[in-house]
Symmetry: C2
Subunit: 235 residues, 2 copies
DNA sequence: CGCCCTATTTGCGCTGGCGCAAAGACAACG
DNA sequence: CGTTGTCTTTGCGCCAGCGCAAATAGGGCG
């Protein structure tokens, strides 16, 4: 449906593009569906495709040799993934897995390159997006290195709520089919610590837990928890 | 001295540049010196300059609100810093501090932009450098989230030795004026843990410690330590 | 050569967070 | 509407790593 075309406008990578170019993109796109649990690509594979998520959720993870994996990024609808890799022509650094059933639009690298030749600003925008994500990761790195598990979990919830929260009368609903384990991989903690922490917060009336979802009742309080324990009360 | 010009060739950002362009860069550069402990720039300042380090050492750190800082990157001679920020025209995400007395070449943003207009590949190269650093940080993020302090410290030493190690007859010397505290900020541990770990390794004959320096005797052993405790002995 | 300042080491006690294991809660499916 | 598999919670014990405090060791400078 042409609703998809309209959604392309919302993709940050494309916002600067003139309509003719967007039409060109749309025409050369290939719809790709993926069942929950399936993989768009794996890390270290050559980046031959870029994707825009229309519907569903994708998680991007990094595995180490024999080490547990970490969750670097959650992709929400109208976001691109694999684009930076395809544009610079490298390997995918991460693995992209469908968390739920997904609808996407996909482009082959050579088609993108052709379009970029006509609209170089596309590469420019990709650069800026990459830099922005880079900086977000730097911040998360600092948090991981210096803050407590509780703070990191609070921050993760806030980010998720910001990225994909659904406003409800009782609060902000995060319904991302994210297990406790996923949250642990985002925050560099363990499944158990996440569970205990969320349970505690539920007892405090801060939020309401569900399987794979969280309803945030008191956002302000959560922000307080995410913030360092306040500068020393000076004495 | 024109030795500086020759060194520009070694800067990854410039390797693809034709000699005429390199000459142009050199001519519009301004030499900047900095004493140990002084700052080239602070995070969140507008990026008005980019630098190439000729001599000395620079460390780039990220501070959190009231949180301890982390050390994201060590800059060795013939590396650029602040370049990505200046080229995309954003703020500096990090603070750059001279660890030792430093000699650099510096460019104003507007001059860079002018040269980029003539040699767009410069922006392209900057893009690729940014992506590369992004990926290195992703790896470090995974390590920080999933590996032990000992492993992370071993890895940090290996990286440093790789980046700026001086081969000696007795082993690889890392002489970067890096304190135990700096190592701790690189690895997300504490000064005490770094000290204890290095002392232990010295007792094991793995390396030799000095003030602000480390001499690696047994690199292979260090690699073993950096690698996960080997897959379960299968049973 | 000796003093002083700063970096480093190390003993000690403490605790945040891990991870097993078992019990409990959901959702899906037949 | 019960069964089954998966996700989640929680009690419990444990230990890696933190951080204070005090001792020690260099290096640089007068």
């Amino acid at each position: 449906m042409s609703n998809d075309f309209r959604n392309l406008r919302k993709v940050k990578l494309f916002t600067e593009l003139p309509t003719t170019a967007l039409q060109l993109m749309y025409d050369s796109a290939r719809p790709v569906q993926m069942e929950a649990g399936c993989f768009f690509f794996h890390q270290n594979e050559r980046a031959e495709m870029m994707y825009v998520l229309l519907d569903g959720q994708v998680k991007m993870t990094l595995l180490g040799p024999e080490g547990r994996q970490v969750l670097i990024r959650i992709v929400a609808p109208c976001e691109d993934f694999g684009a930076v890799s395809a544009i610079v022509g490298s390997d995918y650094p991460l693995t992209a897995e469908a968390v739920t059933r997904c609808r996407t639009l996909a482009w082959e690298q050579k088609d993108i390159m052709r379009i970029i030749d006509s609209y170089p600003m596309l590469r420019e925008t990709a650069f800026q997006i990459a830099v922005k994500r880079f900086r977000q990761l730097q911040k998360r790195f600092r948090e991981l290195a210096t803050e407590s598990a509780e703070q990191r979990i609070a921050r993760a919830l806030l980010r998720l709520s910001n990225q994909a929260g659904l406003p409800k009368t009782e609060g902000m609903l995060i319904d991302l089919a994210l297990s406790r384990g996923d949250l642990a991989e985002m925050t560099g903690t363990s499944l158990y610590t996440v569970s205990r922490t969320l349970s505690q917060w539920e007892r405090d009336g801060l939020l309401k837990n569900g399987r794979g979802k969280v309803l945030i009742r008191d956002c302000a309080q959560l922000i307080t928890l995410a913030t360092p324990p306040e500068n020393p009360p000076f004495n």
